[in-house]
Symmetry: C2
Amino acid sequence: MERIDSTSNQRIKNWAKLLQKKERDKTGLFLAEGDHLIEEALKVGIVDVILSEHPDQYRFDHVIEAPSHVIQKLCSSRSGTASVAVCRMEEPSVLQPDRVLILDGIQDPGNLGTLIRTARSFGFDAVVTSETSCDLYNEKVLRSTQGAVFQIPVVRRNLSDYVSSLQKQGVYVIATTLAEAVPMKEMNVSDKMAVILGNEGNGVSLELQKQADQRVRIEMSGFESLNVAVAGGILMYQLQKQVKI
Amino acid sequence: MERIDSTSNQRIKNWAKLLQKKERDKTGLFLAEGDHLIEEALKVGIVDVILSEHPDQYRFDHVIEAPSHVIQKLCSSRSGTASVAVCRMEEPSVLQPDRVLILDGIQDPGNLGTLIRTARSFGFDAVVTSETSCDLYNEKVLRSTQGAVFQIPVVRRNLSDYVSSLQKQGVYVIATTLAEAVPMKEMNVSDKMAVILGNEGNGVSLELQKQADQRVRIEMSGFESLNVAVAGGILMYQLQKQVKI
């Protein structure tokens, strides 16, 4: 088995650059940290190479043994993970979805990852983010998805164009807002639905609010304030198609 | 107006110690960072002193002007906030609550804060955390609550004793689990309810699962995995008492 012992190794230096968005975008590669994410990435066949302190645990044909300080060079968190994988981004296809989560400018990596995980859990077909949302391959986003990111298509689009194209396909689009909105219990539910959630500070852009077929708000008894990932969870729970009882 | 220009000032040194849990527990004081949290703390009268680069913005009788580097000495985040307040912890009383959120070993500060914020939004009367949950006065917890922490009683208890006492008061206690649980749509709903949510990795402890009146799971169509703050949001939405439509 191959072994790399030094952080001066040229390949380690190149892979470490993948901690930056610019380099990820240029190469189409990203890093997955920790056993759980690597296992999920292996299932969908996007792993190029695994570096690990415990290489024998992986059944994969390209594993490199490396000591802790070399692994840490490729990790953004300080969690002391023993393995990291170099993976390929793959542009997923989103064909005629019945349930779509649309994210307009989500900034917090934890919120983005949690929303992707929730969309997967409630059987949504795709997640579509605006060009202003935070980067999907950020380590904290990947970790918060708990691997769901490899099991549901997530794409970045111009949302105004994308919402128009959904509407032409007969998808009913709702936007979450606080003002001029119907309570969630009264919202129209259709066979094909898309939900737009907005930026943590500013909500859904006015343009998309106008474009949506309905504006919906979550009924609250107290404080008019919910975290966007919580609001998304409540809506997606209501809209899931086939529920396992 | 008083002004402090040096981080060597003895009061600054003492207040900076409040960034550590041990010192907060010893003194009963904590730090609230940023305008929004400080405004919320002022509303409930728990502020001792405010330090700010822009002291004129506060109508309060004990404001100290301080430059950025002094303020930063009292802040755990690198967000560059211009104000910080020294506040008093107050043990709230939780008398005969009708809706209680019980948190068994929540570890992530963002999850704890978000759950407190959501409980407030859905009109819950109190949040009760186990002695193993993360510290309430951690800066990230306070920030994630968005100030809701000052508007809903949050107390730390031995949960087994606390659940027994609730049951004696006629409160129906549900625990969220994945196994041997009824789907949420079929759960019993009573006038007085408590919901137990568990640790991010291990869920609700077996002891509390047994003690609960009913075990409930959130129906999912996909992946069997939800973030605990999302799961809590879905349950609390269903259980809120008076909904403003």
